[in-house]
Structure formats: structure tokens, C-alpha cells
């Protein structure tokens, strides 16, 4: 018997944090313009010590003003999607659940687009206007997961296959609406491939990184308070209740928080798929299926996976780029098929 201890949890997380650091260094170094490790270290130290003004070389500016923000974005988006995927898998009792596969990302995309269309017609303060897109994405995500949940219920039970099919169909329906809107309306709506596939190339305002980071921590923290309850929910809602889990409360907290995470991620990076599916499975394989370990390791693993995938997206066809969503889908879809063949009866 080897129950989980705080020490083991921290050890596992710091291992992943070291890997994340290495991946971040690789991501900073490689790109259309290569940078030496020495120059990289020097420029980063200057940022850390608040001497950004001393960074003069063009290379340094590329690293600090272009690559670093993009990597920070990759870390938060990857972690958010991965935690959302872990939560959906536990709550829906479906090993193939993921914000993208279930159509939740597409719902968030549509919500964000509707908010962008609506924004010029509203007379609101600039601060609230900036929050409108993530709010729309959150509402879109929450509405979609609710619809998929009820579609997937048969005679009071969640049916894995019906749930997944429901998600796929809703996703296809929503992407059709997105295409319709993008083709008929013009304005500052970014590209179609951004919303349908996702990429990390759009820089954000500085305050948006703070908003994103704090939102991620709050939502993940809320889900983490239910970590032990999620372990019990794997055996079914009734059994969880008999073990002392307040099922309706856990369900509400986790659905809302996972919708927040998906909405945040999609509002800044579009619908990036399969991170929330593959990363939790990999972490479960390595660290086991206890959510007290799984949630933090999945967050770090998601960050690692997306920063790595984005480095590939920037470099494989340099000097042009591919959507990072295309990279994750190329890797993720075959793994999805593998899991589908193995898991579903």
C-alpha cells in the first residue's frame, strides 16, 4: 500500500517542471532566426532583472517580444485544455472526452465570434469590451457541454458512444455556422483557420496574459478541490454518492470551471484539438489515475506538449508556419483511433 503523499506529488511535478523548462529553452532557441544559447541566457537575465531596455540586438527583441509571449501563451493554453480534458473524462466517465472532440471548443469559438460581432454595436467601457470575447467563449463552451451531456444520456445513463457521436455532430454543426458567419460578415474576426484549427501566433496585450494566467489558476484550483471526488466518480455517480461525494455540487463546479478553461484557451488561440485527450492519458500511464496527481501533472504535461507542438509548427516549414492545431491533430487523431479501438467495447 503506497498512498499518495505531498512529497511524492511535488517530486513528480518538479520533474515535469524541469522538462517544461528545457522545452521552453528549445522553443526560445529555434525558429526562423536561430539564437545562440549564450545570447538567450543573457537576454533572459536582463528581462528577469528588469533591464529590458538594455536588450538591443534584433535577435534579443525576437526572443523577448515575439517568442517569449508566444511560449507563455502556449503554456497557459496547453495547461488549460489538458485540465479541461481530464475533468471531462472523469465527469462524463468517458476516456475519449476532450474539449475539441466533444464540440466544446467549437462552441467556445462560436461564442467568441458572436462576441466580436456584437462588440462594436455595444456602448460599454473598454475594460468590459476586452472581457467580452472570453465571456462569449465561456458561454459557448458551457452551452455546448450542457447540450452534449443531455444528448449523451439514454434512460438516465451516460452512453459513451452516443455521447461522442453527439459531440462530433454538434462540433460539425457549429463549425458550419462559424464558416457561414465568417463568409457573410466582415470585420476584425481573425481568420477561419484560427477559429477552426487554432494557432498561437496572435500576440496579446500585456494585461491579457495576466487575465489568462489568473483565470487558469482560479479555475484549476476550483477543479482541484474536487480531485478526490473525481476519483470516486470514475466508478459512477451512484457509487460516488454512497462514498460521500456531493455529486451535484462536484458536477456543477467542474463543468463551470472546465468551461471557463476551454473558453479562456479558445478566446486567445482558437480551437486547438487533442491536447486535452492525449496528455491526460499519457500522464495517467506514467503517474496513475489519482486526480490529485493527475490534475497538476496534466497541466504541466499540457504546457510541455503545446509549447513543443508550437515549436514544430514554427520550424518544420520555416520561414512560413502551420497552425499548431494542425500539428496536434496530426499526432492526436491517430492516437484517438488507437484509444477508441482499445477502450470502447
Amino acid at each position: 500500500m503506497r498512498p499518495l503523499t505531498l512529497r511524492r506529488l511535488l517530486l513528480q511535478c518538479s520533474m515535469l517542471a524541469v522538462i517544461l523548462f528545457v522545452v521552453v529553452v528549445i522553443a526560445l532557441k529555434f525558429g526562423a532566426v536561430p539564437v545562440s544559447l549564450y545570447a538567450l541566457g543573457r537576454d533572459l537575465l536582463r528581462v528577469v532583472f528588469g533591464q529590458s531596455s538594455q536588450i538591443s540586438s534584433d535577435y534579443g527583441l525576437i526572443v523577448v517580444n515575439i517568442r517569449l509571449p508566444r511560449i507563455l501563451l502556449g503554456i497557459t493554453v496547453g495547461a488549460s485544455l489538458s485540465v479541461a480534458g481530464t475533468s471531462f473524462q472523469a465527469l462524463l466517465r468517458n476516456p475519449l472526452a476532450d474539449p475539441y472532440v466533444l464540440g466544446v471548443s467549437m462552441g467556445a469559438s462560436l461564442g467568441a465570434i458572436l462576441a466580436l460581432i456584437l462588440e462594436p454595436h455595444l456602448t460599454i467601457s473598454p475594460l468590459f469590451a476586452a472581457l467580452l470575447t472570453p465571456l462569449g467563449a465561456f458561454l459557448g463552451a458551457a452551452a455546448t457541454i450542457t447540450a452534449v451531456y443531455f444528448l449523451g444520456r439514454r434512460e438516465g445513463q451516460l452512453d459513451s458512444a452516443t455521447l461522442l457521436l453527439g459531440g462530433v455532430i454538434i462540433s460539425s454543426f457549429l463549425s458550419a455556422i462559424i464558416m457561414f458567419l465568417m463568409n457573410t460578415l466582415s470585420g476584425n474576426l481573425r481568420g477561419l483557420s484560427f477559429w477552426l484549427m487554432g494557432d498561437l501566433s496572435t500576440p496579446l496585450q500585456k494585461s491579457a496574459y495576466w487575465f489568462l494566467g489568473i483565470g487558469f489558476l482560479l479555475a484549476t484550483g476550483a477543479i482541484y478541490t474536487t480531485a478526490a471526488d473525481l476519483n470516486m466518480l470514475l466508478a459512477g455517480e451512484k457509487e460516488a454518492m454512497h462514498l460521500g461525494v456531493d455529486v451535484p455540487r462536484v458536477r456543477l463546479v467542474v463543468y463551470i470551471a472546465a468551461s471557463v478553461l476551454t473558453g479562456l484557451a479558445v478566446s486567445v488561440s482558437g480551437a486547438i484539438g487533442y491536447v486535452g485527450l492525449i496528455v491526460p492519458h499519457a500522464m495517467r500511464f506514467i503517474f496513475g489515475s489519482d486526480h490529485r496527481t493527475l490534475l497538476p501533472t496534466a497541466a504541466l504535461g499540457g504546457a510541455i506538449a503545446l509549447v513543443f507542438a508550437d515549436t514544430l509548427a514554427r520550424t518544420v516549414v520555416a520561414p512560413t508556419e502551420v497552425s499548431v492545431g494542425a500539428v496536434t491533430a496530426v499526432v492526436g487523431a491517430p492516437l484517438f483511433i488507437y484509444l477508441l479501438r482499445r477502450r470502447l467495447p
Binding site: P95, G236, H242, S289
Partner: protein, 284 residues
């Protein structure tokens, strides 16, 4: 068993006996309908019985007689339409899931896991209701879980994966998780289903011993007339949502009554232990 006979005793003794009553089902009824506008599809009519510490109660009856519904009412998963169920004086269905799980453990027919877990992880889940969600299991929890596994003779299964052990072994681990909850009341829904004869006897011997040692009150829903006769202190006989009789097996196991309830010819004998035995007589 009934309050009448208890009152006939000396006052001190009757007070002691009354305090020993742990589970009290009082005129409980339930109705299930898919659509509130329609007549209920299924009902359980007013049912009453009491169970003391260390007692095993078997709920018997044919399919669709309301056995499992009665068990769900006792577990607090369903709220009764009328009447109430008390556990040590508290109305069960008004307790929070957490408080209930500290007092009542439920062993269901089948426990399926989405992702693989080891037996000890599974048993430690029984400690969940005794801590808060964020904490890590204490040494005390580990000791309790180990004891629970040992009590059902499954200590050697501790490090095995739940999906790689036999049905009988799995049932014992599930029972160990229920024991780790340290409940007052242990509820089992057809625990012997899918088990071979030896495993059935093993499980019920364990229940008998545990009820005596730990003073659990055990309520078990079963189809096995002879196992119930052998192991139960009280039998609750159900038919089409009605509670026909409550009492010790000798009072319930009457040929005409059982034939009428189970709609099949049978014979009842009494063995040397004084416990009744039922033989089904097919084709007569």
C-alpha cells in the same frame, strides 16, 4: 423483535433493547412514475421493520417486488414518499452524502472502473467521507484499510489490479472498501450474484462474522432463499411492492406462503440446526 414484546420485559432491559435498535423503517412508501401526470409505474407500499446492532436482515422476493427500491430508500439514495427511516434516531434521507457515507456503506452488484486501479487504492476510497477532499490519506486510514482487507481475507490482493482479479476476489475487495467506511449499517444488493457456491458461502460467513464482531447491522437483498434462511436473523418478504411478512426465517418459511409469493411449487424442511431449507419442485 417487536416493540410489544420489548415492553413486556423489565423496564431497564426494555430500555437497553430499545437503544439497541439501530435501523427503524417506519411506514415507508415510494412511487415511481416516468411522468407525473400518469399513474405510478411502480410502488412500494407502507413497509415497517426494525433491526438491531449485529443483526442480519434479508430482503426476499421475486423480481420487481420492490426489494432493491427498499434498499435504495434505506441507503438514502431515494427519499420516501411517506414515512421515514431512522438510523440511530436520525432521518436518513435528510443527511448530507458525506454524513451518510460515514454511517452507511453500500455494496452494489457490480462496480466498474473507468481506469485501472489497485485494490488498496480502491479500499482507501472508503476513507473519503472521513476526511476532507483535499487531504492525503493518513497512517490511520492506511491501517484501517489494511485491517478491512484482512477482515475479508483479501490482504494478499492489496497490490493487485482490480481488473485482473476474479469475481469472488473483487467482491471481497468491494466489501473491504465498505468496511473501511466503518459504517453502522452495511447494505448489500445481491452480493452473491455471479459468485460460485464456495465464494457465496465465503462471503456470507464473512458477513456473519463481521456483523457479530463489529456489531454492524446488515441488510442484504437476495434471491438465494436457502442462504437467507441460513444466515439471516430476520427476513422481510416482499411481493409486488408490498411487504408481506417480517420475522425470523422459521416464521416466514412456510410452504403455502413461499409458493404463493414465488409462484412455484416447493417444499420446506427444517434441518438439524433448526433453520429451514427450501427445495424447488419443478414440473409438479
Amino acid at each position: 423483535m417487536s416493540s410489544g414484546s420489548a415492553l413486556a420485559r423489565k423496564p431497564a432491559e426494555s430500555a437497553r433493547l430499545a437503544s439497541e435498535v439501530r435501523l427503524s423503517v417506519e411506514q415507508v412508501s415510494y412511487a415511481y412514475s416516468a411522468n407525473p401526470a400518469q399513474a405510478p409505474l411502480f410502488t412500494v407500499e407502507a413497509t415497517s421493520f426494525q433491526a438491531r446492532r449485529g443483526e442480519i436482515v434479508a430482503i426476499l422476493g421475486p423480481n420487481a417486488s420492490g426489494k432493491s427500491t427498499l434498499l435504495k430508500l434505506i441507503s438514502g439514495a431515494l427519499a420516501p414518499l411517506s414515512g421515514r427511516i431512522l438510523l440511530n434516531g436520525f432521518v436518513i434521507h435528510t443527511l448530507t452524502p458525506r454524513t451518510r457515507a460515514q454511517r452507511i456503506a453500500v455494496v452494489q452488484q457490480e462496480s466498474t472502473l473507468l481506469f485501472p486501479a489497485r485494490a488498496w487504492e480502491f479500499v482507501l476510497q472508503g476513507r473519503h467521507a472521513h476526511g476532507h477532499s483535499l487531504r492525503f490519506e493518513s497512517q490511520e486510514d492506511v491501517v484501517i484499510a489494511k485491517n478491512a482487507l484482512a477482515q475479508v481475507g483479501a490482504a494478499e490482493l492489496s497490490d493487485r489490479w482490480m481488473d485482473q482479479i476474479s469475481g469472488g476476489e473483487k467482491q471481497r475487495v468491494i466489501l473491504a472498501r465498505a468496511l473501511a467506511q466503518q459504517p453502522l449499517l452495511l447494505l448489500l444488493d445481491e452480493p452473491t450474484l455471479h459468485l460460485d457456491i464456495a465464494a457465496q458461502i465465503g462471503l456470507l460467513d464473512a458477513l456473519r462474522r463481521l456483523a457479530a464482531e463489529n456489531r454492524y447491522t446488515v441488510v442484504v437483498v437476495t434471491h438465494e432463499l436457502n442462504l437467507a434462511a441460513e444466515y439471516a436473523d430476520q427476513v422481510v418478504l416482499m411481493q409486488r411492492g408490498r411487504c408481506l411478512r417480517v420475522g425470523p426465517p422459521v416464521n416466514i418459511y412456510q410452504r403455502e406462503l413461499l409458493e404463493q409469493v414465488f409462484q412455484t411449487p416447493l417444499s420446506v424442511e427444517f434441518g438439524s440446526s433448526g433453520r429451514p431449507r427450501v427445495t424447488v419442485l419443478p414440473g409438479t
